[in-house]
Amino acid sequence: MKVFILTALAFLLGIDDVSTKMFRRPLLIAPIVGIILGNLQAGLVIGATLEIMWMGIGDVGAYMAPDLITGTMISTSLAIMGNTNGSISTMVATAITLAVPTSILAQQLLVLIETINCSLNGWAKKLADKADVKGTYWLTWPPALLYGFTRAFPTFLALQFGAGAIQTAINDLPKFIINGLSTAGSIIPSVGIALLMMTMLKKGELWMFVILGFVLSSYLKLDILPITLIALVFAFLYERATREPQVAKTASTAAATENVTDSEDDEEDYDL
């Protein structure tokens, strides 16, 4: 029964991921799985760990990110189902170990859908030829169902046939591996953090703020929320200090105006 509820959840989340995008992060998915399986605490900790581990992940341009939805669903469910007596740290270790391969495998299915979706172009063109606005309503239904199924199907398979295997694996594996994986669980988030730093550290001088945040947290033991507020103040000051002087701005505006006057005699050329 629980497997069916989780499969239905995966179906809905799969559609949400490509439309409203309200639940697309591990921290928002794992607690729901935890509630369904009656272990909210594990869901919260697994969700938080995966959230930070995959923090800097997102598809940029043609690069397709690992499928976090399926990965989180499968790894969280199996971690909670497979550890009947386990501690939360063992569950987190299991979840992290499963999250990487499942996310990457599920990613391939998404590529498949995007290829199938190419047929929509022909359909849309026919509708446009007929100027059929009402007909466009149905354009999203087939791909939406496809997206739902690509998330639901692997989830169902993994939960139906994987839980037992995970349980035996956890029981049979030597203790040191489980312990090592738990330790890894608290180190792996550094990858997510580093990925995020790659996108944010546009200038060398911005390292200052990483150090500032680190010190506020490690020495002063502040929570993230007050640090965010302090960060706002520093960000405001930094922005003031590095803002381009007024002269340069007027110059650039003047340049922009020149561009505009150039293009004024040619109205079709929107020079933006």
């Binding site: 559609i15 995008k21 309200m22 992060r25 921290l27 607690p31 900790v45 969700g47 938080a48 959230e51 930070i52 800097g56 170990t97 990487v100 995007e114 190419c118 172009n121 849309a124 063109k125 446009a128 030829d129 100027a131 606005v133 466009t136 354009l139 999203t140 591996i177 090592g180 994986l181 608290s186 180190i187 792996i188 988030p189 550094s190 953090i193 580093a194 990925l195 703020f209 990483v210 150090i211 680190f214 506020l216 947290s217 490690s218 020495y219 502040l222 993230i224 640090i227 965010t228 960060a231 706002l232 960000a235 930094y238 803002r243 505006t253 105006t257 004024e264 109205e267 079709e268 929107y270």
Partner: protein, 282 residues
């Protein structure tokens, strides 16, 4: 100031039409495909507006075909571009319709980059880390807070952006002064994001070593009489120093490989950590 190049629409579309556009905007990315990316979705989203703007079947058909071209941007800025395009369709005279698509294409690239860096890589990580740090303490409030904060921007701003693009988009384009507001917001967001990242290194990444050093002291001359735990020593100097070092190391490895092999790196780290913990180093 610059003269207005484009006239402001007299608003043929009412709020109900904007709402319909918003609802269809939400399902825009479903039709993503390798041929035109979000082209089909864009046409579908703007179709109801076009139907209202062009009563004539032939014009409507042409307008719909016009928007079936390659299109891809960031979801929140899709909304702005959608509203703006609707306004353009309404105001441009029939013989200048060719100017609409170049404008769309010119805007989608820069705005996609801005949306990614502001929302995907700044706002989402900030709310995610706030939520995660609360969730680590075992409180359901963490994910709930994250959900609310994230969706204020994700859904709320999305609806606002459609009407903004439609009603004020053209003024905004004509007024080049606005561009540095965006620049300022993204600088501020960037700094806030980095400070949160710094705090996360100290709270979330936990690297501890059980290693102990036996100090050979001259007084007792017995090996192992004085045992110093390395971790205690590190904590005296700087709490979380190992986490910082590990994160910086990972950062440089990723920077060398351009971040493409992050999943591979996670697997390698797992194997490494299991090995090291077997030898009681971690």
């Amino acid at each position: 100031m610059t003269e207005e190049k484009l006239t402001v629409p007299e608003h043929k579309l009412n709020n109900r039409d904007l709402w319909r556009m918003f609802m269809r905007l939400n399902t825009m990315r479903i039709t993503l495909n390798y041929e035109t990316l979000q082209g089909v979705g864009f046409m579908r989203a703007i179709a109801p507006a076009l139907a209202k703007i062009y009563p004539d079947k032939k014009d409507l058909s042409e307008a719909m075909k016009r928007h079936l071209v390659f299109y891809n941007s960031h979801v929140n800025f899709d909304a702005v571009i959608l509203g703006l395009t609707a306004a353009m369709e309404e105001t441009t005279p029939p013989d200048e319709k060719d100017g609409i698509n170049p404008l769309k294409t010119g805007l989608m690239g820069p705005l996609a980059g801005l949306g990614d860096s502001l929302i995907k890589f700044t706002w989402l990580p900030i709310v995610g880390s706030i939520g995660a740090s609360i969730a680590f303490g075992g409180s359901i409030f963490g994910p709930i807070l994250m959900f609310i904060l994230y969706n204020i921007i994700n859904m709320g701003a999305r609806y606002y952006a459609v009407s903004f693009g439609y009603k004020k988009g053209i003024d905004f384009l004509n007024n080049n002064q606005q561009s540095d507001v965006i620049q300022r917001i993204s600088t501020i967001a960037n700094v806030v994001g980095l400070m949160v990242v710094g705090a996360l290194i100290a709270t979330v990444v936990k690297v501890q070593t059980p290693l102990k050093i036996a100090v050979h002291s001259n007084v007792s001359s017995k090996v192992g009489s004085n045992v110093i735990s390395l971790q205690a020593m590190f904590d005296k100097i700087m709490p979380g120093v190992l986490s910082l070092l590990v994160t910086i190391a990972v950062y440089y490895i990723l920077k060398k490989t351009n971040g493409k092999h992050s999943a591979m790196l996670i697997v390698i780290m797992m194997v490494l950590v299991v090995g090291l913990s077997y030898f009681k180093i971690l």
